[in-house]
């Protein structure tokens, strides 16, 4: 091979290797970008968006609750189940807050998710009901899906315009977390996602 031929061979080799290196670098960047973020993502992409209209059967009586009935109120929506240990832990914080904030027209909605209504009723018989507090059943897990629930318990905060403004992920073992979030909501401050613990899945 002549000098020129060898040079061209090197050029092609260089380009091949350079392309391969570039590909590896790009893949590395892509993968490291994935590694750098929390795979257990709790932040809800629904924050800042309006709550979809829904209806759900009441847990304790006949008939269905329509989301229209909540229009104009601040709503604390809690997804729970009798099998969820964290739900037991946070139950008093929710029922206490429901009583405390009733005069501010803050409505509490407990959505029994992935559980049998009779188990849900047993749970309430044992741990007590909030007053005022509305309990509904998530038939076919549609509401859980609508809210992008990742596990239990999860609590969503909805402002008077019907916009999801906050999410508390995990059991609210410290009642002050919930109180502060509701205060922030009433005062129009930003809430976002608050992670207070791990969520459970059955």
């Amino acid at each position: 091979m002549t000098v020129a031929g060898r040079t061209r061979g090197r050029t092609l080799g260089f380009w091949s290797l350079a392309s391969a290196c570039a590909a590896v670098v790009v893949l590395g960047v892509v993968l490291s970008d994935r590694f750098g973020t929390d795979p257990d993502l709790t932040a809800s992409p629904l924050i800042g968006l309006p709550v979809a209209e829904f209806s759900a059967p009441y847990l304790e009586f006949e008939g269905e609750l329509s989301s229209d009935e909540l229009d104009g109120s601040i709503v604390v929506i809690n997804f729970w189940a009798s099998w969820c240990i964290g739900c037991r832990v946070e139950h008093p914080a929710l029922t206490d807050a429901a009583a405390q904030y009733a005069e501010f027209d803050v409505r509490f909605l407990g959505i029994l998710h992935q559980d049998n209504p009779s188990n849900g009723l047993d749970f309430l018989d044992e741990l007590g009901r909030g007053d005022p507090y509305t309990y509904v059943v998530d038939a076919g897990s549609r509401l859980g899906l609508e809210f992008g629930v990742l596990g239990l318990p999860e609590t969503f905060l909805v402002d008077r315009d019907g916009t999801i403004v906050g999410k508390i992920s995990g059991p609210i073992s410290n009642p002050q977390v919930l109180v502060n979030a509701i205060d922030d909501l009433i005062l129009g401050r930003e809430i976002g996602t608050i992670k207070v613990g791990e969520v459970e899945n059955r």
Binding site: A23, R142, L145
Partner: protein
């Protein structure tokens, strides 16, 4: 550069390209899928948000069943696949997708092989262009011209028209020119030889790409249909509720597997079912209860109900079977149990009619249908 690297860089790049093409071929090419196919496909491409990383299709959890029901509903109502994916992405972010997407980093990932191919093509083309820069005919003309100049110079020097100094300078410059043209000619003459080599290389490259694609297709074909509960990775059992051929496993072996994997509900249920069908209720009961400790399972509830009825506790039995129906309204066995319990255990023929009528709405083996019809006749007669 290390020679080995230079030798292997191009073939390796080509095999990778082949693999990418193979993946593309393996994942495409479906023709007119049915609604069920589409639901399967979508469920396989979506991560079950509750189930620790497996797809909705793979998971047997009740939430996965609910999500699958939702997908079926949407597809049935005319939603496109993309609309269903968008719905999930809007609520769970792109993390819910198990396949890379054509945007953001996903797009970069997809683009890499195509960019690599484009760079390769440009490199090969520029190499060709460099090689044909000096046509062989021109070189011969130029050499003749230079040699003519040198001849004339010698004649002029001999005739005394040029001083030796000037003649020397001119000769040097002509010789330099001759050397340069000759070198360029040598380059041009070799132009045809590597072209033959190129053809060989092209064939080799083609074999690498096609071979890479074929091997990748074969590998994908071999692993795509494997049982999701299989231990191909050597890991622990996951979600082993999926169909596993248990026919060849003895009860003792199954007991051991269940003891080692206490939370794998499917295996425990299969074992309990074996004992139950063999009439060994003492062995079946703890396993059905073990299943119920872990999930609300219609079969376990109904079976426990039936065993309770056979132990002369029809009230409790009725409660279990009713809960089974609540959990899974389409488990026909439960209606058979409930009809029997109400008619024969609770002397409630009126209550037995509904479940028996419901039972008869399902496709049943002939003997079961006959028995159910007879029992219904008895219930109606006793009313």
């Amino acid at each position: 550069m290390i020679p080995a690297l230079r030798r292997w860089a191009a073939p390796v790049a080509l095999v990778i390209l082949g693999s990418v093409i193979g993946i593309g071929l393996a994942s495409g090419g479906e023709v007119e899928p049915t609604v069920e196919d589409r639901v399967d496909q979508i469920a396989a491409n979506l991560r079950c948000p509750f189930c620790g990383g497996v797809s909705i299709a793979e998971s047997t959890s009740s939430i996965a069943r609910d999500l699958r029901g939702f997908i079926t509903e949407q597809v049935g109502a005319g939603a496109t696949d993309q609309e269903v994916y968008d719905y999930f992405v809007a609520r769970y972010t792109e993390r819910v997708l198990l396949r890379p997407v054509w945007s953001g980093w996903g797009l970069v990932l997809w683009a890499v092989p195509f960019v690599a191919v484009a760079v390769g093509v440009i490199a090969i083309r520029s190499r060709r262009r460099g090689r044909v820069a000096v046509p062989a005919g021109d070189v011969v003309d130029q050499l003749d011209h230079v040699r003519r100049d040198l001849g004339e110079l010698e004649l002029q020097e001999a005739a005394g028209e040029l001083t030796p100094a000037v003649a020397g300078r001119l000769r040097a410059s002509y010789l330099e020119e001759e050397l340069a043209v000759a070198a360029a000619g040598a380059q041009g003459e070799t132009a045809d030889a590597p072209r033959k080599v190129d053809r060989k290389r092209l064939i080799g490259a083609g074999i690498l790409v096609v071979g890479g694609a074929a091997v990748t297709l074969a590998v994908i074909g071999a692993v795509a249909d494997r049982d999701p509960s299989g231990l191909i990775t050597g890991g622990v059992f996951q979600e082993a509720d999926d169909p596993v051929d248990l026919a060849t496993v003895t009860n003792e072996e199954l007991e051991q597997v269940v003891a080692e994997n206490p939370d794998v509900v499917g295996m425990r249920l299969a074992l309990a079912r074996r004992y139950f069908q063999a009439g060994d209720f003492t062995a079946a009961l703890p396993h059905f209860l073990g299943v119920l400790d872990r999930e609300l399972n219609a079969e376990a509830l109904a079976s426990v109900g039936w065993m309770t009825y056979l132990s002369d506790e029809p009230d409790i039995a009725e409660d279990y079977v009713e809960r089974s129906i609540e959990v899974e309204p389409d488990f026909p066995q439960a209606y058979w149990y409930l009809g029997n319990i109400r008619l024969l255990g609770l002397a409630d023929p009126g209550g037995a009619i509904d479940p028996l009528e419901r039972l008869l709405t399902y496709e049943l083996p002939d003997d079961v249908r006959t028995e159910a019809e007879e029992l219904l006749d008895v219930a109606e007669a006793e009313l």
